[in-house]
C-alpha cells in the first residue's frame, strides 16, 4: 500500500482515539506519601509567627492568612486580614482559586497546629503549592506576638531583638500589650530584624518560547 495512505490512516486513527477518550482532568502533579513524609519531617510547611507578623506590619500583599477553625471561632477572634475556610470546606471547588495559585503565600492557622496541619496535608497531597502553617498556631501567636515574655537581661542579643520585634509587631497589629519597646539590647543593632530563617518560595512559571 502507498505509505502516504498508511500514514494518513494511522494519524487519523490516533485522532479518533484522542477525540473519543475523555479529556484528562486529573492533576498529574501529586505528592506521593514518601515525599510528603520528607516534607513533614523537615517541617517545611511551618512559617514563623515573626515572619507572618513582619509581613502583616508591612502590609505585604503577598500574604493571605486562612483561618481553618469554624466560623464562630473566626468571628470571635481572628488575625488581621484573615479569611475563614473551615477545615470541612477545604476541598470545595469554591476555594480552589485561593488555595491553588502561584502569587500569594497562604498561611493556615488554627488554635494549635493540628487543624492547620491537616488543611496543609490535604491541599499538599492534591499538589497545591504556596500553602503554609502558622507555627504554633494562635496559642503560640498570643504567647509570642501579643504578650511576649521579657527575656532576662543576660540573654543573647537575638533574644532581646526578637522580644523587641514582637512587642513592636504586637502593638502595630493591635493585639499586643501597651508596654514600651525595650531598649535593652546590648549593642542596639536593628531591633526590628530578628534572625528568622527565610522560607524558600518556589514559583511555577511557564517557560516562554515560540518559533517562526
Amino acid at each position: 500500500m502507498n505509505p502516504r495512505v498508511i500514514l494518513s490512516t494511522a494519524i487519523i486513527g490516533l485522532g479518533l482515539i484522542i477525540a473519543a477518550v475523555p479529556q484528562n482532568t486529573t492533576r498529574p502533579y501529586k505528592v506521593d506519601a514518601s515525599q510528603l513524609l520528607v516534607e513533614i519531617k523537615n517541617g517545611q510547611q511551618f512559617i514563623n509567627p515573626e515572619e507572618v507578623a513582619d509581613m502583616l506590619v508591612q502590609n505585604d500583599p503577598s500574604i493571605q492568612l486562612i483561618d481553618v477553625r469554624n466560623p464562630d471561632e473566626f468571628n470571635s477572634f481572628s488575625l488581621p486580614g484573615a479569611i475563614n475556610i473551615p477545615l470541612e470546606s477545604i476541598l470545595l471547588k469554591d476555594f480552589e482559586d485561593i488555595l491553588n495559585q502561584d502569587t500569594k503565600t497562604n498561611v493556615f492557622y488554627s488554635n494549635g497546629t493540628l487543624q492547620a496541619n491537616e488543611a496543609w496535608m490535604l491541599t499538599r497531597q492534591i499538589g497545591f503549592k504556596n500553602n503554609y502553617v502558622l507555627m504554633g498556631g494562635l496559642n503560640y501567636w498570643v504567647e509570642s506576638i501579643a504578650n511576649p515574655q521579657k527575656p532576662s537581661n543576660s540573654s543573647a542579643n537575638e533574644e532581646l531583638a526578637r522580644y523587641n520585634f514582637r512587642l513592636a509587631a504586637g502593638s502595630a497589629l493591635g493585639t499586643g500589650s501597651s508596654e514600651g519597646i525595650s531598649t535593652e539590647t546590648k549593642t542596639n543593632t536593628s531591633p526590628l530584624t530578628p534572625a528568622i530563617p527565610k522560607i524558600e518560595k518556589k514559583k511555577k512559571k511557564p517557560v516562554a518560547g515560540g518559533c517562526s
Binding site: 484528562n24 486529573t26 492533576r27 498529574p28 511557564p206 518559533c211 517562526s212
Partner: protein, 196 residues
C-alpha cells in the same frame, strides 16, 4: 510530571541547554527538508512546491497528538504549558508584515538563519533586514505601543472558543491537515516546475 522546568524537575539552565539542542535539531530538519532555498519556500505561494505547508502541518499535528496523549497518560500538565498571549491587532498586523516579508524575501526568520548557515547570500541579506526591522520596532516603540498592546485577549484556545474538547478539535485539525496534504500534492502536479 511534565512540563519539566516549571515543575522544577530540571533547572532553568538545563532547560536552556535542552532548548539549544532542540534548536540545533530544528535547524537541521529545516535545512534537510530544503527550507534553506528561498525558491522552494516561495513555491508554496505558487503551488509548485508545498513542502512548507506539509512540514509545518506535520510538525503541528505530531506535537498536538503527542501533548494530548502525554496529558492522557498523566505525563504532562497542560495547564502549565506556556501559551503565547494573544494581542489581536498585534497578531494581525505582525502576520501581514511577516507574510509580506516572506513573499518578498523568500524566507521566514528561522529559515533565513538556516540559509545563512549554509552560505546563501540572499539569506544573509534577509538576516540583516531582520535586524533592521528589530531596530525600527525598538526605536519606534512609543509610536506603536498603543497598537502593540491593544485588544489583549489572554490565552484563548480555538477549541475553547468553539466549545469543543481538545480531542475533538484535534481530530478535526488532523482531518483538515490530511485533506490539505492531498490537495497540496495535487497542486504540485497541476503547477509543476522543472528547475528551481
Amino acid at each position: 510530571m511534565g512540563p519539566l522546568a516549571p515543575n522544577e524537575i530540571i533547572t532553568e539552565n538545563t532547560n536552556l541547554f535542552l532548548a539549544f539542542i532542540v534548536g540545533i535539531g530544528f535547524g537541521f530538519i529545516l535545512e534537510q527538508a530544503g527550507f534553506s532555498s528561498s525558491r522552494k519556500l516561495a513555491g508554496v505561494f505558487y503551488g509548485y512546491d508545498m513542502v512548507v505547508l506539509k512540514v509545518f502541518f506535520t510538525g503541528a499535528i505530531t506535537a498536538m497528538l503527542g501533548l494530548l496523549f502525554f496529558s492522557l497518560f498523566g505525563w504532562i500538565d497542560l495547564d502549565l504549558v506556556y501559551v503565547n498571549e494573544t494581542y489581536l491587532y498585534s497578531a494581525i498586523v505582525g502576520g501581514v508584515i511577516m507574510g509580506l516579508g516572506f513573499i518578498l524575501g523568500g524566507f521566514c526568520p528561522g529559515t533565513s538563519f538556516c540559509g545563512a548557515a549554509i552560505g546563501k547570500i540572499d539569506a544573509m541579506l534577509f538576516v540583516v533586514g531582520l535586524f533592521i526591522g528589530v531596530l525600527i520596532f525598538q526605536e519606534g516603540y512609543p509610536l506603536w505601543e498603543g497598537l502593540f498592546k491593544a485588544e489583549y485577549m489572554g490565552t484563548p484556545r480555538v477549541s475553547e472558543s468553539l466549545g469543543l474538547s481538545y480531542g475533538l478539535f484535534a481530530l478535526m485539525l488532523i482531518v483538515v491537515a490530511v485533506g490539505m496534504f492531498w490537495v497540496a500534492e495535487w497542486a504540485e502536479k497541476k503547477f509543476p516546475r522543472e528547475e528551481y
